[in-house]
C-alpha cells in the first residue's frame, strides 16, 4: 500500500497531542496515585478497597441497578422500536425528534424533573426520592430512546423480502421471528443494550440527585472520596477498577460484533412503513405510541409546571428571583447561565477543531496511524466523565499549572464532546468520492484548496450537526465539571445540583427554573441538529 503524504500524516499530531496530554497523561497520574502513591509500587490501597465491605457494596449496587435498569429499558423500548419501524402514524416526526432529546438532555435536568414528579411534594403525590424505584424509572426514561432509535432504525431498514421469503418457505410468524428477524436484529439489540448498560453503570448526576445518601454508584463514590473525604488514592483505585471493568465489557462487545458481523443488506431510500391494517394492530400501535409519548413527555411537562409554582401561587417568581443571591450559591443563579454559555462556546470551538481534524485523519490517512487515532478518540467514551474530571484535577498541576486556567472546564467538555463530532463528520467525509477532489486538483486547486472548496461545503451540514452536539454536551455536562468548577463560578448543572441539595421550597423552585432554562438551551441545540440533518447522509 502507498503511504499517505507526509503533510497529511502531520494532521494526526493535533488529536494525538490533545488526547495525549489531557486524557492519557491524567490516566497515568491516576494509575500512579492508585498503584504507587508514594513513588514505589504499593498495592495496599488497592487491596484495602477490594476488602472494604462498603465499597464492595457500592460496586455491587452499581452493577445490579445497571442490569435492572437496562433490562426494563429493553422491555419498554422494544415494542416502541417495532411500531416505529413498521408503522406510519400522525405525529411520528415529532415523536422522533422528541427521541433525540434524552440523548442530550443534561442528567441534572432529568434529576430535577423526577424530583418534581416523584420527589417530596411531587406531582404524583408519592415521595420516592432516595429509592431505587426513582433511579430505575429515571434511567428508563433516559434510555428508552437509545433502544427505540438504535433497534428501530435498523429494523426499519431490514429487507422485508427476507422475512417474506421465510414465510413462503413455511415459517409461521413465531418461527420467522425466531429464525430470521431475531438473528438479524441481534447485533443492533446487543449494541443498543450495551450502550444503555454503559450509560446506567456510569450514572452520576441522576443518582446524586435521586439516590439520597444510601444509594451510590462507583461514580458517586469517586466523587465523595475526592470531595468529602479527600482520599484521592481511594478515588484513583476506584477509577482504575471501573475503567478496567468497562474496557473488558467494551472488548467483549467488540469481539461479539466481529463474530456476528454478516453482510446484511439494508434497504436505503423509501421506508416500507405504513399504517396498521387490522383493527387490533391499530389499537396496539396507538397504545404503544401513547405510552411512549407519556413516558417521554410527562417528566418534562411536570418540570416546566413546577418551575411556575411559587410560595404565593402560580407565577414567574422562580425566574425573576434568579438574579438574587441564595445561601446555596456564592453568586446569583443567573450568573451560572452566563458561565455555562461562555464555557460551552469555548468547549465547542475546541471540540469541533480537534474533532474535524481527527475525522479527516481517520478518513484520509491509510494504515495503522488512522486506526490508532480512531481508537484513541473513542477511549473517553469508555472512561466516564467523572474519571475525566478527576484525572484533570489530579494531573493539571504539573508540568504546566492549568488548575486555575479558564480553559480547564472547556478542555474537559471537549474531551466528552469530541467523539460526537467525529461520529457526525466521519461518515460524510468517507462518503465523498475522492474523484471529486481529484477533479478539483486537475482543474488547478492545491490539495488544501481542493478540500476546502469540495469536501468542506459538502460536509458542512455534518459539521453543523457535530457543532450543535458539542454545544449541547458541554452546556449540560456535570460529571467532569463537578470536580473542576470553582465555587464562585458555578455552571448551570452545578448550580442546579447545589440548589436541589438545599431544603426549602424556594431553592427547589429556583432549581426547577434553572433546569427549564438549561432544558431550553439543549432543546435549541437539538432543533439545530434536526435542522442541519435535513436529508439523510447520501453517497456524494
Amino acid at each position: 500500500m502507498r503511504r499517505s503524504p507526509f503533510a497529511l500524516r502531520l494532521l494526526a499530531v493535533l488529536p494525538i497531542a490533545f488526547l495525549g496530554y489531557f486524557f492519557v497523561y491524567p490516566l497515568a497520574r491516576i494509575s500512579i496515585l492508585a498503584l504507587a502513591p508514594r513513588g514505589a509500587p504499593d498495592l495496599t490501597v488497592f487491596i484495602d478497597v477490594l476488602r472494604d465491605p462498603d465499597l464492595v457494596g457500592v460496586a455491587w449496587f452499581t452493577l445490579w441497578q445497571a442490569a435492572l435498569s437496562t433490562s426494563i429499558t429493553l422491555v419498554v423500548g422494544f415494542p416502541a422500536a417495532y411500531v416505529f419501524a413498521h408503522y406510519r402514524f400522525p405525529g411520528k416526526t415529532f415523536l422522533r425528534a422528541l427521541m433525540t432529546i434524552p440523548f442530550v438532555l443534561p442528567t441534572l435536568v432529568v434529576g430535577a424533573a423526577f424530583v418534581a414528579l416523584v420527589g417530596p411534594g411531587g406531582a404524583l403525590g408519592i415521595d420516592l426520592q432516595g429509592t431505587i424505584t426513582a433511579i430505575v424509572v429515571a434511567h428508563v426514561f433516559y434510555n428508552v430512546p437509545v433502544i427505540v432509535r438504535g433497534v428501530g432504525s435498523f429494523w426499519e431498514q431490514l429487507d422485508p423480502q427476507v422475512t417474506d421469503a421465510a414465510r413462503t418457505l413455511g415459517a409461521g410468524p413465531l418461527s420467522v421471528f425466531r429464525t430470521v428477524t431475531a438473528p438479524l436484529l441481534a447485533p443492533a439489540v446487543v449494541s443498543s443494550t450495551a450502550l444503555v448498560f454503559l450509560f446506567t453503570f456510569t450514572s452520576f448526576g441522576v443518582i446524586l440527585v435521586l439516590g439520597g445518601f444510601r444509594n451510590a454508584t462507583i461514580e458517586v463514590e469517586i466523587w465523595r472520596q475526592t470531595t468529602a473525604f479527600l482520599r484521592l488514592d481511594v478515588a484513583a483505585a476506584l477509577s482504575l477498577l471501573q475503567l478496567g471493568f468497562l474496557t473488558a465489557v467494551l472488548a467483549a462487545y467488540n469481539r461479539y460484533q466481529e463474530r456476528r458481523a454478516v453482510g446484511i443488506r439494508l434497504r436505503t431510500g423509501a421506508s416500507s412503513a405504513r399504517r396498521p391494517r387490522s383493527r387490533t394492530g391499530r389499537t396496539v400501535a396507538v397504545g404503544i405510541v401513547a405510552a411512549t409519548s407519556a413516558l417521554l413527555l410527562t417528566p418534562l411537562a411536570v418540570l416546566v409546571g413546577r418551575s411556575f409554582v411559587t410560595a404565593d401561587g402560580l407565577g414567574i417568581g422562580n425566574y425573576t428571583g434568579l438574579g438574587e443571591r441564595t445561601t446555596a450559591l456564592f453568586v446569583p443563579p443567573l450568573e451560572a447561565v452566563v458561565n455555562s454559555v461562555r464555557l460551552a462556546v469555548a468547549a465547542t470551538v475546541l471540540a469541533v477543531a480537534v474533532g474535524i481534524v481527527a475525522a479527516a485523519t481517520i478518513a484520509y490517512v491509510r494504515g495503522p496511524l488512522a486506526r490508532g487515532v480512531d481508537l484513541l478518540l473513542m477511549l473517553p467514551l469508555a472512561a466516564s466523565a467523572v474519571t475525566i474530571g478527576f484525572g484533570l484535577l489530579v494531573s493539571m498541576g504539573t508540568p504546566i499549572d492549568l488548575r486555575r486556567s479558564l480553559l480547564l472546564i472547556p478542555i474537559a467538555h471537549a474531551l466528552v464532546a469530541i467523539p460526537f463530532v467525529v461520529r457526525s463528520a466521519l461518515p460524510v467525509l468517507r462518503a465523498i468520492r475522492p474523484r471529486l477532489r481529484e477533479a478539483a486538483m486537475v482543474l488547478g486547486a492545491s490539495p488544501g484548496r481542493a478540500w476546502w472548496t469540495v469536501d468542506a461545503p459538502l460536509a458542512a451540514r455534518a459539521f453543523a450537526v457535530g457543532t450543535a452536539f458539542a454545544f449541547a454536551v458541554s452546556v449540560g455536562e456535570f460529571g467532569a465539571t463537578a470536580f473542576l468548577a470553582r465555587p464562585a463560578a458555578p455552571t448551570l448543572p452545578v448550580a442546579i445540583f447545589r440548589l436541589l441539595g438545599q431544603p426549602g421550597a424556594e431553592t427547589t423552585g429556583r432549581a426547577m427554573a434553572l433546569s427549564v432554562i438549561l432544558m431550553a438551551l439543549t432543546a435549541l441545540a437539538v432543533l439545530a441538529i434536526e435542522a442541519a440533518r435535513g436529508g439523510a447522509v447520501e453517497e456524494l
Partner: protein, 338 residues
C-alpha cells in the same frame, strides 16, 4: 390448477392490480409479462399470500386460499433480488424450508445436496452467502425455492440483474429443471426473450389487468392490440384508416372483416417484407444494421407515405441511398385494435 380472478390491490390512491385474472394448468409454465409498475410483482405476492387483496379470489385446485397464511400454502416464491438469509450459509439457506417441514437432519442434508446438484452448485453447502457471485446467488435462491418441493413455483424477474451470458445459460437450464420436476410455474418478467423461452403461455398485463393471452407464437403473429405489439417489440406498426372494410395507409390496402373493432392498426413482421424487383412498392434504403445472420434494413417508402419507414429483414443489405422495390405478403399483415 391455479385460478386467480378479479384481484384488486390498492396502495393509497393507486391500484397496483385492477381486476387481474390468471389461470395456470398443472405442469404448465405461465409467464406474466408487462412493463415495470404493471402490478406483476404484486400479483405474485397475492398468490403467495404475502399481500391481502382488496377484492378478488385465489383458488388452488378448487380451494379458496383467502384464509390460508403464506406459510401454509406450500408455494415457493423466488424474489427479484433473491432475499437470501445473510446469517445462514448456502446449505442452511436451502435447508430452511425443509427445516420448517420438520424433516430429520439426514434427510434435509440429502435433499439440500440433491437440490444444489440440480441447480449446478454441487458441494456449495458451507459457503457464505456474501461470497457468492450474482449468478451463484440466483442458483442458491432457486434451490431454496425448489428444495421443499413446492406445488407451485412463483418467480419474480429471476434473471433481471444478471449479465447476458449468464442469462442465456440459465434460460436453457431453468426450463430443463422445471421439466424434470414437473413444476407448475408462474414466471414474471418484462423481457420478451425470457418470456418466449420459458412460457408455455404468456399473459401480458398493463395497468394491473390482463390485456393479452396466448402462446408466444400466437402473440407474436397476431398481437391483439397496438400496446401489446409495441411491448413485444414488433416492428412496422402503423395506424390505418378504414373505408368500407378496407384499411389503407396510402401505400397499402388490405381488407378488414366487419367484425374487427375500429379504429384499426396493423403490424407487418419484417421477415414478411421482401426486397423484390417485381414488388409494387417503391422506396429508398435509409440504413442497414447487421444483427448476426441477417440485416435489418430501414426503407423510406416513396410516394403518398408521409415519411413512413418500413423495417425489412433480409440476408443482403443494399447500401443506404439505393432505390429498392418491396413486396408485402398480405396474409402476414396483422390487424390490431388501437
Amino acid at each position: 390448477m391455479l385460478e386467480v380472478s378479479g384481484i384488486v390491490v390498492r396502495y393509497e390512491d393507486t391500484a397496483a392490480l385492477d381486476g387481474m385474472d390468471l389461470t395456470v394448468l398443472d405442469g404448465e409454465r405461465a409467464v406474466v409479462m408487462g412493463p415495470s409498475g404493471s402490478g406483476k410483482s404484486t400479483l405474485l405476492r397475492v398468490i403467495a399470500g404475502l399481500e391481502v387483496p382488496d377484492d378478488g379470489t385465489v383458488r388452488w385446485n378448487g380451494r379458496y386460499l383467502d384464509d390460508v397464511p403464506p406459510h401454509r400454502r406450500g408455494f415457493g416464491l423466488m424474489f427479484q433480488d433473491y432475499a437470501l438469509f445473510p446469517h445462514r450459509d448456502v446449505g442452511r439457506n436451502v435447508a430452511y424450508g425443509l427445516e420448517m417441514q420438520g424433516l430429520p437432519r439426514d434427510e434435509i442434508a440429502r435433499r439440500v445436496a440433491d437440490t444444489l446438484d440440480l441447480v449446478g452448485l454441487p458441494g456449495a453447502e458451507r459457503r457464505a452467502v456474501a461470497t457468492l457471485s450474482g449468478g451463484e446467488q440466483q442458483r442458491v435462491a432457486l434451490a431454496r425455492t425448489l428444495a421443499p418441493g413446492p406445488s407451485l413455483v412463483l418467480l419474480d424477474e429471476p434473471l433481471g440483474s444478471l449479465d447476458r451470458t449468464l442469462r442465456d445459460r440459465l434460460l436453457t437450464d431453468m426450463p430443463a429443471i422445471f421439466d424434470r420436476l414437473g413444476s407448475t410455474v408462474v414466471y414474471v418478467t418484462h423481457d420478451r426473450e425470457e418470456a418466449f423461452a420459458i412460457g408455455h403461455r404468456i399473459t401480458v398485463v398493463e395497468g394491473g389487468k390482463p390485456v393479452a393471452h396466448g402462446t408466444a407464437a400466437d402473440l407474436w403473429r397476431r398481437p391483439p392490440s397496438r400496446f401489446v405489439a409495441s411491448f413485444l417489440g414488433l416492428e412496422n406498426v402503423f395506424d390505418v384508416t378504414t373505408h368500407h372494410d378496407v384499411a389503407t395507409t396510402g401505400w397499402l390496402a388490405i381488407p378488414v372483416p366487419a367484425s374487427h373493432p375500429r379504429p384499426v392498426a396493423i403490424a407487418i413482421p419484417p421477415e414478411h417484407i421482401v426486397i423484390d424487383p417485381a414488388g409494387d412498392l417503391e422506396g429508398t434504403v435509409v440504413e442497414a444494421r447487421f444483427r448476426g445472420g441477417s440485416y435489418l434494413v430501414r426503407v423510406a417508402v416513396a410516394d403518398g407515405a408521409d415519411g413512413a419507414e418500413l423495417t425489412v429483414d433480409t440476408r443482403d443489405a443494399p447500401p443506404p441511398g439505393t432505390p429498392v422495390r418491396l413486396r408485402i405478403d398480405p396474409d402476414a399483415v396483422a390487424l390490431l385494435a388501437r
